[in-house]
Structure formats: structure tokens, C-alpha cells
């Protein structure tokens, strides 16, 4: 059974979401504050973590940061009720895979959860290592090396980079990347893919611009001269 962890201090919302997600066939564990959330996330093995931003004690961002230091591969879906668009994107920058602003349509939540879970086994589709533009992707070990240095990537960033490397310098459209990494089509007015790309660039020490934006079309890798 697929195990989900929901960290949210809103007990009523949590219990209703539990009903909905249980009906969809997931086993949901609840945590009402940051400390408990972090403890549960690190001790149990969950397939997906749903994380609210405003939490008593450690807030969602801090929790995410600490979580990512130890647990890179579990997908995290941020539920944000903060007003600023900045706040929404901040979760992605700290290593969340996707976000959903509150109030959300519960059907949308179920769809996002399914998309993120569907994506996870995809990593083993091409088990043989691929290499391009200085990137060395080893899907079996979930590892990307750039210029012989290991990159610390979240699952989403890993999938984006893997898809780009497999493109071998061809332009990969945003939709392709979104399907490969987030398990869903890119929604209109959605900036999440751009944020993920910008995060990957930040992690590359030399020539991060080898991941090139092709405006209106997508992204591609540039072979270094």
C-alpha cells in the first residue's frame, strides 16, 4: 500500500483529506507540527510527503530543508496558504517537487499526488548510464556527476536533468520535461519548471549556462567547446 505523510496543523482539514485520500487507496499518516513531522518523515518510509508551510514549531520551509539533508529521494508536495508568490516558489527552491496553493480543489490534490507517485518508478526506465555535455547520469544509483562531481539533486531535478541529457542537445519542450519530472502536463501560468531548472543551474559550479533556455520552446544542453 502506498504510504503518504501529511504534515499540517489544521486538524479538521487533515482528517477530511485523510477520508479523501483513503478512499483513493492511500494510507495516510498525520503529523500536526513540525517536530513530529520531521521525526515521522525521517523514521518511516513514505512514498510521498504532503507538507504545509505554516506550522507551529519548525515551519514547513525549515522542515523541508532539514529533510532534504537526509532524505533526497522522497517526493514532497508543498501545500501553501501564504499569500506571496515568492513563498510558493521558495518551497521549490528548497527542494520540494511540486506545490499546490491553498485553498485547492481536492481533486487537484489527488491528481498531483498521483502524478508525483506515477513519476517515481520512471527512474528505472533507462537503466543504462547516459552522458552529454559533461553530465554523467547513472539511473541505477540515482546519481548525476558533472565534471566528475556528484550533484545533490532532488528527485524532480534528477528527472529533469536525466531527460535533458537523454535529449543529447536537442530542445526538450517544457511539457515533455513536466511530464517526465512532475508526472503531469504543465498547467497554464505555472512557473515550477523554470524554478527547478534555475535550482539545477545554481548547483552546477562551472558553466551552468550549458543548460540553455530556448525561449518559447523549452530547454537544451549545450556541448562545451
Amino acid at each position: 500500500m502506498t504510504k503518504l505523510l501529511l504534515v499540517d496543523d489544521d486538524a479538521e482539514l487533515s482528517s477530511m483529506l485523510e477520508q479523501i485520500l483513503t478512499k483513493e487507496g492511500y494510507q495516510l499518516t498525520l503529523a500536526a507540527d513540525g517536530e513530529t513531522g520531521l521525526h515521522r518523515a525521517l523514521s518511516g518510509s513514505y512514498d510521498l510527503i504532503l507538507l504545509d508551510v505554516m506550522l507551529p514549531g519548525i515551519d514547513g520551509f525549515q522542515l523541508l530543508q532539514r529533510l532534504r539533508q537526509q532524505l533526497r529521494n522522497t517526493p514532497v508536495l508543498m501545500l501553501t496558504a501564504r499569500g506571496d508568490d515568492d513563498d510558493r516558489v521558495k518551497g521549490l527552491e528548497l527542494g520540494a517537487d511540486d506545490y499546490l496553493p491553498k485553498p485547492f480543489n481536492p481533486r487537484e490534490l489527488v491528481a498531483r499526488v498521483k502524478a508525483l507517485l506515477r513519476r517515481t518508478p520512471n527512474t528505472s526506465v533507462t537503466p543504462e548510464p547516459v552522458e552529454y555535455a559533461g553530465f554523467h547520469v547513472n539511473p541505477l544509483q540515482n546519481e548525476v556527476r558533472v565534471d566528475d562531481q556528484v550533484l545533490e539533486l532532488t528527485p524532480t531535478e534528477f528527472d529533469i536533468l536525466r531527460t535533458l541529457v537523454q535529449g543529447k542537445g536537442q530542445v526538450v519542450s517544457k511539457d515533455q520535461l513536466s511530464v517526465a519530472a512532475l508526472g503531469r502536463q504543465l498547467a497554464p501560468f505555472d512557473r515550477s519548471l523554470d524554478v527547478h531548472i534555475s535550482n539545477i543551474r545554481k548547483k552546477i559550479a562551472h558553466n551552468p549556462e550549458r543548460i540553455q533556455t530556448v525561449r518559447g520552446r523549452g530547454y537544451r544542453l549545450l556541448q562545451l567547446a
Binding site: 489544521d10 482539514l13 477530511m16 499569500g83 506571496d84 485553498p103 518559447g216
Partner: protein, 462 residues
């Protein structure tokens, strides 16, 4: 606490006083210098030779009283007679009035000397026995000219000294008074621009009123920052507190939906739509509030405006196919500029959505670059336009031209948001009725040169 002797008024008073005194003193000194420039010089031998023979006879000498003509143009200026008594010292009355001091000094000289006075050449003393006399003759033309020149030179020097002296003091005043004022003006502008640290240098350490003003400004800047932070926190809290119940409502509505009949379901759907609408209104109000209170952090980046509107049109078409068919991006000179992409998109999106919602026909997006500094993005619809007197109100919150369409349309904040967001990125939004029908909204924006370090390449219209 400012002490009385730190008062700027007092300091200014003292400074001006000192300035006046300095000017007056220098004037006085110069006057002294030019009025008493002469020192006695030894009497040339030939003059002595001419005069001495006349002064050897005791009787003649005794008869020489002031005013008496001796020889040539020489007349007696002063005499000291051997008799004791009040008449022992005799002075020529005119000279005694104007140059008594010189006369007395000269009478005591060891050797005969000559001394130039403004109205004559004083010569002497000549001594015979215990009598002494001083002689005076008018100045020759040459000597007079020389004297006048001397006076003029002194006057020039005086003017120059006063000029440079006052200039120096004015510069001093400027540095001391005007420079701090300029710095304070700049700091005030910094506050207006939202800075919380002011570049006042040592100004707040000054003990006078200017220092006090600088300290007050610093406090104001700090207070403003605190209040801005509080406002930001409040907005964030309000946002959270309003959205949480809405989120619960939405989930509760979905949970109730499954087990009810169709009639109830349609009511629940209506509720669900209203919850969504409510959350949109909240989001808009919060955005507006952030924009109006200067709480938006700008993130300038290179934007290809053509690409931006193309993406926008694609997004809107994705939301509603009908929108996609009605939107037309004209093939104009769409510039590449540096601005905040999110805000620029917000400006255009709200105007376009508005046009799509309120009219049925085509909505055109056009652009014109005016010069190197500005460009205008134009959103034009083909509806009925807006009565002239309502054009101004168009951008007011919750204003609707046609109240009957209240329910169908948006939340009534789109235009206001556009206007505010445009202001934040330095733009101006204006509306007019197009001569050939339809409403035309223009967004006039500054054209900024993109920064060099942008690595993105432009591939147009794929």
C-alpha cells in the same frame, strides 16, 4: 538632549557675528596700513646743505615760529623754544589737528629726516642750542602722484582681501550648512524609496538641530521598516487565516457531494464556485495591498515582450479555447526590455482578461516603441467602449461599467491591479475609446536595456 550652546541658531548668529567682525577688522587693519604707510627716511645731504646755512644764526632761529616761510617753499611746522612754560612747544595749527603724533615723534628724532604726509613733506628736526624746529613743504607733483598711486594700490589690496575672505567664509558656511542639508534631502528620498539604512555619514553625531534632524530621520526610517515588516506579517497572517477555512470548505464540499442527489449537488457546486471566487477575491485584495504598500520585491530580468504575450495568449487559450480564438497578437516591433516579468505579466494579463470578459469580439495586442526610453503595449477590444465620463473610474476597485453583468464577470479588481502593478514597474496605464469603436488601454513603460549577463537566447515564434 540638546544643550543651549548646541543650538544652530546660536551658532549661526555667532558665525555671522564672527564673519562681520573679521571683515570689519581686516578693513580696519587695511585702513591703518594705507593711512600710515610712511616711515621717516634720512634727509638727503643736499637738502641739509641748502637748509643748514639758514639755520645757523641764533636770532633767526629764535624767531622761527610755526607758519613762517623760511626759504623756497619750506615753512615752519613746529618749534621747541628754550623758554620754559606753556608756549615752549609751538605747532602749526592745521598740522597739529591732523598729524600731531607725527610732529611730536619727528621732533624727538636724532637726525634730521624727511617724512611724507598726505599734504606735505615734513623735514627735520633742525637743532640749534636747545631749540628745535620742523619744516614742511608742499609735495611736488611727482610725489603727489606717487602718493595717490600708493593709496589706490592699498584700496585694491583691501578689495581683494575682502573678496577672498568673504568667499572663504561662504565656502565654509556651505560645507558646514548646505552640505548636510543636501545629505538630508537625499536621505529623505532614500526613505521614500523604502530604504531602511540611510547614508548620513557623521551627520547624526552632530549636536545641533541638523544632527537632531538626521537622528529623527534615522528613527523614522527604522520605524517605517518595522511597520512595513509588521504589515507584511499581517498580510501573510490574514492570508493564512482566510485561506485555511476556505480550504476546509472546499474539501468538505467535495466530501458532501458524493452521497447526495443531483439537486443538492448543483447547490454544492454553486457553493464550490463561490468558494473559489472568494479565494480569488482574497488573493487579489492581498496582491493589491502588497503593491500599494510597496511590499513587492522587484526582480528585474530580461524580457522579450513578444514572447511574454505569446505565452500569455497560449495560457489563456489553454484555460478557454474561445479566448484563444479571440486573441490576436499584432506583428509589431515588440522590444526586449529589463523589468519584473511577473508584474509585467500581471499588468497585461488582467487587462486582456478584462477585455475578453466584457466584450465578445476580437481582442488585439499591439506594441509601439517611441524612442530609446519608452514603449507602449496596447490592448484593444471591439466592444461598445465605455462612456467618456467613466473612463477615469475604470481603474477604481470594484467598479463595473455595466452593473447588470455583475455575476458573470470577474471580481472587479483586475484593472486596479493592472494600474498599481504598472506603477510599481514605472509604467502608466491609460484608457480611451478607439475612434473606430472599442476600448483601448495603453500601458506606457520604460524601455530598459537588458543586462549583459543574461545567457538566454531569443527564438521567436516557434
Amino acid at each position: 538632549m540638546m544643550r543651549w550652546y548646541h543650538s544652530l541658531t546660536l551658532r549661526l548668529l555667532l558665525l555671522f557675528w564672527a564673519l562681520l567682525l573679521a571683515v570689519a577688522a581686516s578693513g580696519f587693519l587695511l585702513a591703518m596700513w594705507s593711512a600710515n604707510p610712511e616711515t621717516p627716511r634720512p634727509l638727503p645731504a643736499e637738502v641739509r646743505d641748502i637748509l643748514s646755512p639758514l639755520l645757523t644764526d641764533q636770532a633767526t632761529f629764535a624767531s622761527l615760529t610755526p607758519g613762517r616761510l623760511l626759504a623756497g617753499e619750506y615753512r615752519v611746522a613746529a618749534a621747541v623754544t628754550p623758554e620754559e612754560g606753556p608756549n615752549r612747544l609751538q605747532l602749526e595749527p592745521n598740522l597739529a589737528n591732523t598729524h600731531r603724533r607725527e610732529l611730536m615723534q619727528q621732533l624727538d628724532a636724532e637726525e634730521p629726516e624727511k617724512l611724507r604726509l598726505p599734504n606735505g613733506m615734513l623735514v627735520g628736526p633742525f637743532t640749534l642750542g636747545n631749540q628745535r624746529i620742523l619744516l614742511i613743504r608742499p609735495l611736488s607733483n611727482e610725489e603727489r602722484l606717487d602718493f595717490q598711486q600708493h593709496v589706490e594700490e592699498a584700496e585694491h589690496a583691501q578689495t581683494l582681501v575682502l573678496l577672498f575672505g568673504s568667499l572663504f567664509i561662504a565656502v565654509l558656511l556651505g560645507v558646514w550648512l548646505v552640505l548636510p542639508l543636501k545629505r538630508l534631502t537625499k536621505a529623505t528620498r532614500e526613505i521614500a524609496a523604502g530604504a531602511d539604512f540611510l547614508h548620513l555619514k557623521r551627520l547624526p553625531k552632530r549636536s545641533d538641530e541638523l544632527g537632531e534632524l538626521a537622528r529623527a530621520l534615522e528613527t523614522a526610517a527604522h520605524d517605517l521598516k518595522v511597520s512595513r515588516d509588521a504589515q507584511r506579517r499581517l498580510l501573510s497572517d490574514v492570508s493564512h487565516e482566510l485561506r485555511s477555512p476556505l480550504a476546509r470548505m472546499q474539501v468538505a464540499l467535495m466530501l458532501s457531494q458524493d452521497d447526495h442527489d443531483d439537486a443538492t449537488n448543483s447547490h454544492l457546486q454553486q457553493l464550490s464556485r463561490d468558494v473559489e471566487r472568494l479565494s480569488t477575491i482574497i488573493e487579489r485584495i492581498l496582491s493589491l495591498s502588497r503593491l500599494e504598500n510597496g511590499l513587492v520585491k522587484l526582480n528585474p530580468q530580461t524580457i522579450d515582450t513578444y514572447q511574454l504575450v505569446q505565452t500569455l495568449v497560449a495560457d489563456l487559450a489553454y484555460v478557454d479555447a474561445n479566448y484563444g480564438e479571440r486573441l490576436l497578437v499584432l506583428d509589431a516591433n515588440w522590444p526586449v526590455t529589463a523589468s519584473d516579468e511577473e508584474l509585467l505579466r500581471l499588468v497585461i494579463e488582467n487587462l486582456v482578461r478584462n477585455a475578453l470578459q466584457y466584450t465578445a469580439g476580437l481582442v488585439e495586442l499591439d506594441c509601439a516603441v517611441h524612442d530609446d526610453k519608452t514603449f507602449t503595449i496596447i490592448v484593444r477590444d471591439h466592444g461598445d467602449g465605455v462612456p467618456e465620463q467613466q473612463l477615469e473610474q475604470l481603474f477604481e476597485p470594484f467598479f463595473r461599467g455595466d452593473p447588470s453583468r455583475h455575476h458573470k464577470s470577474g471580481v472587479g479588481l483586475g484593472m486596479t491591479l493592472s494600474l498599481r502593478a504598472a506603477n510599481v514597474i514605472g509604467g502608466v496605464v491609460s484608457a480611451r475609446n478607439h475612434p473606430e469603436g472599442g476600448l483601448e488601454i495603453s500601458i506606457r513603460l520604460p524601455l530598459n536595456t537588458p543586462t549583459q549577463d543574461d545567457e538566454q537566447i531569443e527564438v521567436r515564434g516557434s
